[in-house]
């Protein structure tokens, strides 16, 4: 008698288990499971964002297995190459009788104990940047300079969690590099007023 009861309960439980797995959404328990299953035989799509990158000068970089495009920098700096003006050593150029330059640059990046101009710029070769240890860094690869301190941001940027895509979501991936969003001399974002205010919402909630 008791044994029969157990049997019924067991069968009942099995049935409940069988049917409780049936959600409305079909084959998968959740979207994570769906992504895992359906991306197993991912063949790529014909959608490309290449046409949205036309007219943009880019360079391809490869860091830690992430290969993607970033905008060319040297072509964007107005007065590059720097040596066109910086023809003499810095000490001579700072003399009074020469025309003043870079008055608009005020360094607001870390404190003066940590950084000054020559932390990143090489006074002996103004056309290149330099690492903390004195190695040469190309202006196009300036992210190598930033990543010396901002290691976490660098990891996120490589993966795509920090920064912004150019063109679209579709491959090939093109991402902004650090200096496309942050002014290296003043890297924080300014506070400002929101782009809009919804007056109708205020009326609705009165």
């Amino acid at each position: 008698m008791n044994r029969n009861l157990y049997k019924y309960i067991l069968v009942g439980l099995c049935l409940v288990a069988l049917f409780s797995c049936k959600h409305g959404e079909g084959e998968y328990h959740g979207v994570t499971e769906r992504i895992e299953a359906e991306s197993k035989n991912y063949h790529g799509t014909p959608i490309s964002s290449e046409k949205y990158l036309e007219g943009l000068e880019t360079i391809e970089i490869s860091e830690d297995g992430h290969t993607f495009l970033i905008p060319d920098r040297k072509g964007q700096i107005k007065s590059y190459a720097c040596t066109e003006c910086h023809s003499k050593p810095l000490a001579q150029m700072q003399s009074k009788d020469l025309k003043k330059a870079h008055w608009d640059i005020k360094l607001n990046h870390a404190n003066s104990n940590t950084m000054n101009c020559v932390t990143c710029h090489n006074p002996d070769n103004m056309d290149e940047l330099k690492s903390l240890t004195g190695n040469t860094i190309d202006f196009n690869n300036s992210y190598n300079l930033c990543s010396q301190c901002h290691t976490k941001q660098f990891e996120d940027w490589k993966g795509g969690a920090h920064g912004k895509r150019i063109g679209g979501w579709a491959p090939p991936r093109a991402s902004m590099t650090c200096v496309n969003c942050h002014n290296p001399h003043k890297p924080h974002f300014e506070s400002r007023w929101p782009a809009r205010f919804n007056t109708e919402k205020v009326k609705e909630r009165e």
Binding site: I35, E38, S48, D156, R192, E200
Partner: protein, 381 residues
């Protein structure tokens, strides 16, 4: 008057026929090609199994409504007298208009064509059940109708979901500064009603240390941002994989596409707002009045399921900018965000940046316990 394999009756009003609706390539002239786009690969299988499959699917899902489309779906159903009269009156008005213009010797070719378009649009079927030719035909009609009414040209797409694509979104709470550039971009891209200031996106200003407290959050702030001691998070349609809004729609005017986008057929929506009530995220908006957009500001790059002009009394919502995303672009909000807080991409591509975020950052979703399976994740630096 003829119906050459179309799902609705056509009036021949003397205007030259633009496109022939044509019957479905699979030989059936009702019920679409044995299902929507997702089942198109099914047709390679033997005839019998396909039919069996279709029949089973029909019965399991919606019964007889599935086999009827267009004219039949409107009229060949049991209905009470009141709704029958309502439908007949609406149709008669359009019919009368069509007949009067077609019989009139004074009215020009243009108004005849307009009446013809109105007629065909009135009796077209649910977009979900249309085959590609029918989709193209309705889009062509809408473009032509807009041209006749305003004299301006728009481009409208009926691009279907691409295979191996599932759209997903990630939002970085530590990056958002509350500038609302995304909201601006969204309104402009999606031709939202300017009078009621409809917005799909809400940015919530939340107090630090209080968690996600929507009761105390402010989604309509106007002061310098970011405000001291606050953080910002945005909500919009999350394009749930198990969307409750789709479940409750009595006329199946909203559904989940194969690339995961939850869309609305504005011409099939009856405006009951069940979906609005069912959505736990306040993702849906209703047009209480006729949406107005100044002609100069109308975004003319449109998609049938996306930013084409809506009418009074229908639902609308974020579509992840279907007109952009299916073309490979990022949604307007992603492109407009100055802080890079918004990340969009293909969840099925293991190399995509959205996948890297999901696999390497600590992500969560809103009200995960509801089982709605949103494809919109939040994360922090």
């Amino acid at each position: 008057m003829s119906s050459n394999g179309k799902k609705w009756f056509s009036l021949n009003l003397g205007a030259k026929p633009k496109t022939s609706g044509g019957s479905c390539s699979c030989g059936k002239n009702s019920g679409g090609c044995g299902g929507n786009g997702s089942h198109s690969h099914e047709s390679k299988e033997p005839q019998l199994t396909e039919e069996e499959f279709a029949a089973a699917a029909i019965n399991a899902s919606i019964g007889e409504e599935r086999t009827k489309d267009g004219f039949d779906q409107v009229f060949d159903v049991k209905m009470d007298r009141r709704s029958a009269f309502k439908k007949l009156t609406a149709s008669l008005l359009i019919g009368a208009g069509a007949v009067s213009t077609s019989c009139s010797v004074i009215s020009g070719e243009d108004s005849k064509e307009k009446a013809q378009i109105d007629w065909e649009e009135q009796f077209k079927g649910n977009y979900k059940l249309m085959n590609d030719e029918e989709k193209k035909a309705t889009v062509d009609r809408l473009v032509r109708s807009y041209q006749l009414r305003t004299g301006k040209n728009i481009s409208m797409s009926s691009k279907n979901a691409e295979e191996d694509v599932l759209f997903g979104y990630a939002f970085n709470i530590s990056k958002c500064q509350g500038y609302m550039d995304c909201v601006n971009a969204c309104v402009e891209e999606n031709n939202q009603d300017r009078n009621s200031q409809m917005q799909y996106i809400r940015i919530h200003e939340m107090k630090d240390g209080k968690g996600f407290n929507f009761d105390e959050a402010d989604d309509n702030y106007y002061h310098e941002v970011p405000a001291e001691g606050h953080f910002y998070m945005g909500t919009q349609c999350f394009h749930c994989d198990n969307p409750p809004c789709v479940e409750v729609c009595p006329v199946q005017a909203t559904w989940r596409e194969d690339d995961g986008l939850v869309v609305v057929d504005y011409d099939w929506c009856v405006g009951c707002r069940y979906c609005m009530a069912a959505c736990p995220y306040d993702g849906r908006r209703f047009n209480w009045s006729k949406p107005e957009v100044p002609e100069a500001e109308v975004n003319k790059n449109q998609h049938y399921l996306g930013n084409r002009m809506r009418k009074k009394g229908v639902m609308e919502k974020c579509t992840f900018c279907v007109q952009r995303s299916r073309a490979g672009k990022n949604p307007a909000c992603v492109e407009a965000c100055p802080t890079g807080a918004r990340i969009f991409g293909n969840l099925l591509d293991p190399e995509s940046t959205i996948r890297w975020v999901l696999e390497n950052k600590k992500v969560f979703r809103l009200k995960e316990d509801l089982g709605t399976e949103p494809k919109f994740w939040y994360f922090m630096d």
